[in-house]
Symmetry: C2
């Protein structure tokens, strides 16, 4: 499960993990060098869509946007309260 563990930044899962977590990674590899500045707006819409399925506290959302050469990566980490599904 190295890939999945890598995604969540976990060495391993333990029973002590109490909170649920949701993570979104959006990667855009461009052919040219034109900037894709739509990612922050897209992120807001993605969070709005996800909030239809799970209960999200805006304070528990952490967003990281990274731009390197032709690659843009938007990472959204969300801590969910337990049993947060509608």
């Amino acid at each position: 499960m190295s890939f999945l563990s890598f995604l969540l930044g976990e060495k391993k899962q333990t029973a002590s993990v109490a909170k649920e977590r949701l993570q979104i990674i959006l990667a855009h590899e461009r052919a040219g060098r034109t900037g894709a500045d739509y990612l922050p707006a897209l992120q807001r819409e993605l969070v709005a869509v996800i909030s239809k399925y799970v209960s999200i506290n805006p304070n528990d959302i952490k967003v990281h946007l990274e731009r390197q050469d032709n690659l843009e990566v938007l990472e959204v980490k969300i801590e969910l309260p337990e049993a947060s599904r509608y």
Copy 2:
């Protein structure tokens, strides 16, 4: 850039890469073992939102859903034609 390259499954980027690519990874780590079967529906809504920002051909979308223990990972890979941004 190992993390980003890892995400896109690339050894390295070359000038020969012609198409733009968009990748979404949605990982849900649950506290319990209750299934989160909302991911496929959520995926459809995510793709609908993204299609508002970039031109998506339904044939160019590849979806992979993986479930392991308390972790569910939805991966959506989209090949974009060049200059596909609205």
